[in-house]
Each structure stands twice: as structure tokens, then as C-alpha cells.
């Protein structure tokens, strides 16, 4: 099955989008591999390298509370991605998730 992708201009790209095709510089060096998640710092890096277009995985439109919670969990999970084995960090992650969930009813 063909993968659905979307090409966008860099100025339309934002944190959280997933790269569908390797981003390379003029000399073919991979700046960001396929599957990388965009973050503000990565966007800044791409701007520094004069990248103007990106191919991304189209984002699902969240609908309803479950989807919103899933998006929240995914976003906060990404922030804590390196601390799966630390009980203290797991607890902090839980506290942030609860706080964000309560704040965005």
C-alpha cells in the first residue's frame, strides 16, 4: 500500500509533525531521518541549513476527549521518553499529565 505523505513549506511546519522522507542538505547529508519528530530546535536547525520544503506524515485530526487525551499523553510521553525506568520521573510525568488534562477540559 502506498504511504500517504504531504509536502509542506518549512514555514508551515510545526513541532510534533513527523518527517516522512529523509531531509538532506545540499551535499546529501541526512539532517533529519525519516520518522523523526519535529521540534522547535529541529525546525531552527533546518532553517539554518536553508531547507525550504519538507515531506511529512499527515497529522490525524483529533476529535473528542479520548483523542485529546491521547495527543496529550503522546506529547508529554515524548518529553519523558528517556526516563522509563525512573519511578521519580514517571511520577513527575503523571503529575504533568494530570495537570494538563485538568487544565484543558
Amino acid at each position: 500500500m502506498d504511504e500517504v505523505v504531504e509536502q509542506i513549506r518549512l514555514e508551515r511546519a510545526c513541532a510534533g509533525m513527523v518527517i516522512a522522507v529523509d531531509v538532506t542538505d545540499e551535499e546529501g547529508r541526512v539532517l533529519l531521518p525519516r520518522g523523526a519528530v519535529l521540534r522547535d530546535t529541529r525546525l531552527a536547525m533546518l532553517r539554518r541549513h536553508n531547507i525550504t520544503r519538507l515531506t511529512i506524515v499527515p497529522q490525524a485530526q483529533p476529535d473528542g476527549a479520548d483523542s485529546r487525551m491521547a495527543v496529550l499523553r503522546e506529547r508529554i510521553g515524548r518529553l519523558f521518553r528517556k526516563h522509563g525506568d525512573s519511578p521519580l520521573m514517571r511520577r513527575l510525568e503523571r503529575a504533568v499529565l494530570d495537570y494538563r488534562a485538568g487544565k484543558q477540559p
Binding site: 521540534r39 530546535t41 519523558f80 521518553r81 526516563h83 520521573m89 504533568v96
Partner: protein, 277 residues
């Protein structure tokens, strides 16, 4: 790898402008309750940019004042001397590095102000001076600004390394430059004549040293991790830094009160952010 030696950095830092003397006087006199308001106002009047920043925060919705504050004297009467002192110090520190039109510097100060507000809130439990905690938070990453301003090419390599390898800025700085922002920050804060306890916090806030951290260092570390977890200001490259168990224990925070703390922190940051141009 572009190695920068700490000796080179110290020499560079020594050429940077000193802090405005009025800010330093206030900083060193945090415990001086006898400070004359008139003297403070007169000295401050030499630096109108500083006064403007302070008044902008004083008039923010956070303080909920019914009327406009127009002078330093009024600010002292309404907010209290200690609040005004810390605002002046913060405004002076931020004024040392021209903002230019850089979004990343705005994010940098947002994070630093966040850590400052958070450290100030957390220190109520542990009997530390709130103003000193605020200044520690504000200055904790200041070494990074030296790199961004004076070594932009080398720092671009650091940022690229972070993005490529998904590591923290601290690890990337060590890998690419051979030293980190904490060491540079400590040198700058020493150059600015901040007290040794603040220099220690700036040097040690990542808690990578074997020595037991001071309470202020622990508080600043916890505040830093919390602000990264709340995504305040600069994005935490490489994810939220790991929270030290020793520092968490020293901060004496109850889990049950943490979420209400988050709300307080975000409310305070909103008004304190007016210190940024």
C-alpha cells in the same frame, strides 16, 4: 569537535561589561532593611530602561493593582522593597544581553524566568531567601548566552549535534566544545561579583558533581526540571532532564501539592515575562 578551554572562556568573560552598579548594590543588600527608598530611586533614575522594565511588571495583572504605578517610590510602597529589589536585579541581568530579534533568546529568558519564579515558590518550605532563589533561577543557564552571543558558529554546531543525536544541550556542549554552559556561567557570575553561593548554584545546577549540593542548588535543579516538564520557554532538547533524588528530597515538596504549584508557577511567569523586551 571545536574545543574551547575554560581559560579562554574566563578571559572572554572578563571583557564583558560589568553589571549596572545599582543592581549590584541592591543584590548585595538583599538583607539590608534600612536601605533608603529615596536613595534607591535616585540611583535607579540614572537607568530609565531599567526603571521602565520594573514598572511594566509592577503594573502587570499579576499584582492586580487598581491604579497605575508610575515611579519607583510608588512601586516600593505598593509591592514592597524586596520585590522591587529583585525586579531591578532581574531587569539588569536581562539587559546585559541585547535581545535582537531572536525568538530563541526570548525562549531562553522565558525558561530562565520560569525557573526563577519556580525556585522562589519552592523555597518557602526550606527557609531559603526567596530573592536569592529567584536570582539563582534567573542566572542558572546564563553561560549559554555567552556561547550564543560570542561563539555563534560553535554553538550552531552544538545545536545541530543536539538535534541529530537527540541529546541534551549539556551533553552536546561537552561533546562538541569540551566544556559546558554551567562552567562558563559560573565564570560570568563571578565576573559580575554575585555572591559565592550563587556562583555555586550556576556551576552545579545539573548536579553532575559528586559533592553534595547546597539547598539552593537543589532547589534550582528541581525548578529547572519542573520548568522543562511544563515546557516553559526553550524546548527541552533530548527530553526533560532527569530529576536528582537527592535534590528532590532536599526541596521537600509534597506530591499532593505539586499540581497546584504548577498553576502558581505559570501565573507568576506570565507577569514576570514582561521583564523581557
Amino acid at each position: 569537535m571545536t574545543v574551547l578551554s575554560i581559560e579562554t572562556m574566563r578571559s572572554r568573560v572578563a571583557t564583558l561589561p560589568a553589571m549596572p552598579s545599582v543592581a549590584m548594590e541592591l543584590m548585595l543588600a538583599f538583607s539590608d532593611e534600612e536601605l533608603e527608598i529615596e536613595t534607591l530611586a535616585r540611583k535607579l533614575s540614572w537607568d530609565q530602561a531599567l526603571v521602565a522594565r520594573v514598572l511594566r511588571v509592577a503594573n502587570s495583572p499579576f499584582y492586580g493593582l487598581r491604579r497605575q504605578i508610575c515611579t519607583v517610590q510608588e512601586a516600593v510602597v505598593v509591592l514592597g522593597l524586596s520585590s522591587v529589589r529583585v525586579l531591578v536585579t532581574a531587569a539588569a541581568v536581562i539587559g546585559q544581553f541585547p535581545m535582537r530579534a531572536r525568538r530563541d533568546l526570548h525562549a531562553f529568558w522565558q525558561h530562565s524566568i520560569g525557573v526563577a519564579c519556580c525556585a522562589k515558590l519552592l523555597c518557602a518550605h526550606v527557609r531559603q531567601d526567596q530573592n536569592t532563589a529567584f536570582v539563582c533561577g534567573l542566572l542558572h543557564d546564563i553561560g549559554r548566552l555567552v556561547l550564543v552571543h560570542y561563539y555563534p558558529e560553535q554553538y550552531a554546531q552544538v545545536e545541530d549535534y543536539c538535534a541529530r543525536e537527540d541529546v541534551s544541550r549539556l551533553d552536546a556542549e561537552r561533546a562538541v566544545l569540551g566544556l559546558d554552559h554551567a562552567a562558563i556561567g559560573a565564570a560570568l557570575v563571578a565576573h559580575w561579583n554575585f555572591p559565592p553561593q550563587i556562583q555555586q548554584v550556576v556551576a552545579g545546577h545539573h548536579l553532575t558533581e559528586a559533592a553534595a549540593p547546597s539547598v539552593l542548588t537543589s532547589l534550582t535543579h528541581v525548578a529547572d526540571v519542573i520548568c522543562h516538564a511544563l515546557e516553559i520557554g526553550a524546548e527541552p532538547i533530548g527530553g526533560v532532564p532527569v530529576l536528582s533524588e537527592t535534590a528532590w528530597a532536599a526541596a521537600k515538596i509534597e506530591w499532593s501539592e505539586l499540581t497546584s504549584r504548577f498553576a502558581q508557577i505559570e501565573a507568576q511567569i506570565e507577569s514576570a515575562s514582561l521583564l523581557i523586551d
